[in-house]
């Protein structure tokens, strides 16, 4: 039953990646900014929670405070960096470079404050094992799946059922038209980056609960999430989430037939072929 455990492990990893993907998709589809610094926000969330837990703050409160801090950081990045650059008519490339700079600053500050060591959360419950038949999962993995699916469902509800969600979709669809209807796109951009940062803080804390913290550990999840977003169809929250889960499951199951070092290469090769046949993404029509 190795395949079953690999499948479940893929679902765990994929659900966390899925949340990164929907948060990035939400920001990109609305602001059109390739927000690379999102990887820094993701990483910072884990370190903030680690600091709080290490100082005796209850685990749930630490998670909520980390989410709150990341929300503020996201709003700050949009308001003080991207908005300023847009006012000065900076090109997309300049904004991308600024975002890369912000990522480097966040990573270096984390490395300077916390060192580059791999840090483990001082929460013994997270590594306790639950056995279901032949499956063996720890609490960190179970929590990751449950909260990630809830985060996806919550994001879908927010985007489609709330006024703010509809306003965001309106700005994403046509910012000029939205401005005519007094939606103030710049205000919406700040809100959407803040919300995206809050969402990404969730896997930012849950994944290190299981695998530990590294200052430069946010880039690979963001890269995979970006590919999931594009393959899923830019603007589709469901597309980004499903494709992220699909990539992680495929990477895990591919080990049954190929060596591990080929897994990433083969998985992404399949996606390159897929994109050749469906360049707009799998869920493009669902927008």
């Amino acid at each position: 039953m190795v395949w079953l455990q690999l499948l479940v492990n893929g679902l765990v990893t994929g659900s966390a990646l899925g949340v990164v993907a929907i948060s990035f998709a939400l920001i990109y589809a609305t602001t059109k900014i390739f927000h690379v610094a999102h990887a820094g926000v993701y990483t910072l969330a884990g370190y903030l929670a680690w600091s709080l837990v290490s100082h005796g703050v209850p685990d749930v409160l630490a998670l909520l405070l980390a989410i709150l801090c990341c929300t503020a950081l996201g709003a700050l990045i949009q308001h003080q960096l991207y908005a300023r650059l847009e006012r000065r008519r900076a090109t997309h490339l300049v904004v991308l470079i600024a975002s890369l700079g912000a990522l480097a600053v966040i990573q270096n500050v984390i490395a300077a404050v916390y060192s580059s060591n791999i840090l483990q959360f001082p929460v013994p419950w997270s590594s306790r094992v639950v056995t279901v038949g032949t499956l063996r999962l720890n609490w960190a993995q179970i929590l990751t799946v449950v909260l990630s699916v809830l985060a996806y469902a919550g994001t879908m509800w927010f985007a489609h059922r709330t006024i703010l969600g509809k306003q965001i979709r309106a700005v994403a669809s046509n910012p000029f038209l939205a401005e005519i209807t007094r939606l103030r796109p710049q205000r919406i951009y700040v809100i959407v980056v803040a919300i995206g940062s809050a969402i990404v803080a969730l896997p930012g804390v849950l994944v290190p609960l299981d695998l530990g913290l590294q200052p430069y550990g946010g880039v690979t999840p963001l890269l995979t999430a970006t590919i999931a977003m594009i393959a899923g169809g830019v603007g589709s929250i469901t597309g980004a989430f499903v494709l992220a889960v699909g990539i992680a499951v495929l990477q895990n199951l591919s080990l049954l037939v190929i060596p591990g070092e080929w897994s990433i290469g083969v998985t992404f090769f399949i996606f390159v072929i897929f994109m050749l046949f469906r360049p707009t993404g799998l869920f493009a029509k669902a927008r």
Partner: protein, 374 residues
């Protein structure tokens, strides 16, 4: 005309006196600081090891300088951060050698050391490695000296021990870099020679902490023993192994001796080879007082390597030779036997030192037996 001749004479006298003073003066003025280099990972996934290596060197140098240095010369070590990356290491090497004119460099990690080895040969710069163990390091350059045995030496000891214990079917988890691939190749060669069989092998990336897919695949091969050759991320590894509740033994090299992993209850029962090097209690206490951390294996290794260099520099200065890479190299092999934290002999570029087989038990790393590998 006379004036011109006088000027020429005066110029000739100045040139002659300058040349003579150069020939007659000692190899180095007594108060001149001797600068050495160190290229280690001080950031990135290898930083925990690199920082301890840096401390080991600096601790030895500070002690020597506090006593007046080596024959009146203060010793300064210039540290460069290579992030354990070969390309960054080459840039750092050139910077230290061409700009700072250092005659020797402390190095660590196999990939970076192998990348710098041809430069060391060409520029005659002595490189001392006290942390990396790829077999390729033993013959990479006549100027690359290793103060610990290669992975091959450790693998030979472990392969023999495992077969003696009846663990004859093995799977291998290795890091996909110079150190991991070298260790994997050694095990693939030496374990069957000792009477064992290899069932499966899987690679992971340096710094990766999700080992579950690879571990599941290897466990499916139903080995008696899982042989691990990775250099970072030991705590997640032992926790994920514990989660699997494996029915096989887990064995590894010196790389497994991460203090955090040893302290984790999940590591109970893991065995590994260990290059033996102990520090006296008073030395360990002084180190802890200074840095707030225990003097771990890597700090002890680099402290020992720094002591070797201090001995070699002392001998070079005694013989009134300039402190060049070539002279340091030749003098090291002329001395050959060193009594630092452990007795060490250089019959080749790689030192002969004792190797132990240790078992992690209740937060301690207990030595089961000890052998000396050539």
């Amino acid at each position: 005309m006379i004036k011109v001749q006088g000027t020429r004479r005066a110029f000739a006298a100045v040139v002659t006196s300058v040349l003579l003073s150069g020939l007659l003066r000692p190899a180095m003025a007594a108060d001149e600081t001797i600068r050495l280099g160190a290229i280690l990972p001080l950031t990135g996934p290898g930083a925990v090891v690199g920082t301890q290596e840096m401390r080991g060197i600096q601790f030895a140098m500070d002690a020597a300088n506090a006593k007046g240095g080596v024959q009146g010369h203060k010793i300064e070590v210039i540290f460069e951060d290579n992030q354990a990356k070969p390309d960054v290491s080459v840039l750092s090497f050139n910077k230290l050698v061409d700009l700072q004119k250092v005659p020797m460099i402390f190095t660590g990690y196999s990939g970076p050391s192998l990348a710098m080895a041809p430069l060391a040969t060409r520029k005659k710069i002595l490189m001392i490695n006290a942390g990396a163990q790829s077999d390729k390091l033993t013959k990479a350059s006549p100027y690359l000296v290793n103060t610990l045995p290669s992975t091959g030496d450790e693998v030979a000891v472990m392969a023999k021990y495992l077969v003696q214990q009846g663990k004859k079917k093995a799977a291998v988890l290795f890091e996909n870099d110079a150190a991991g691939i070298g260790g994997r190749d050694d095990f693939l060669e030496l374990f069957p020679k000792a009477g064992g069989t290899i069932l499966a092998q899987e690679a992971v990336q340096f710094g990766q902490t999700d080992y579950r897919p690879a571990l599941l695949k290897l466990a499916a091969a139903k080995p008696d023993v899982l042989y691990v050759v990775i250099t970072a991320g030991m705590v997640p590894l032992v926790q994920q192994l514990k989660q699997m509740n494996p029915d096989f033994l887990v064995a590894g090299t010196t790389f497994m001796a991460d203090p955090a992993a040893i302290a984790d209850p999940a590591s109970n029962g893991i065995i590994h080879t260990q290059v033996q090097i102990d520090a006296p209690p008073e030395l360990s206490a002084a180190f802890k007082a200074k840095y707030g951390d225990d003097m771990d294996f890597f700090a002890r290794q680099y402290y020992n390597a720094a002591q070797i260099m201090l001995t070699v520099i002392d001998k070079v200065l005694s013989e009134k030779k300039p402190v060049t890479g070539e002279n340091l190299h030749d003098t090291l092999f002329a001395i050959r036997k060193f009594q630092g934290l452990i007795p060490m002999e250089f019959k080749s570029n790689t030192a002969t030192v004792p190797i132990g087989i240790n078992k992690m038990e209740n937060g301690k790393d207990v030595t089961l037996l000890q052998v000396t590998a050539e």
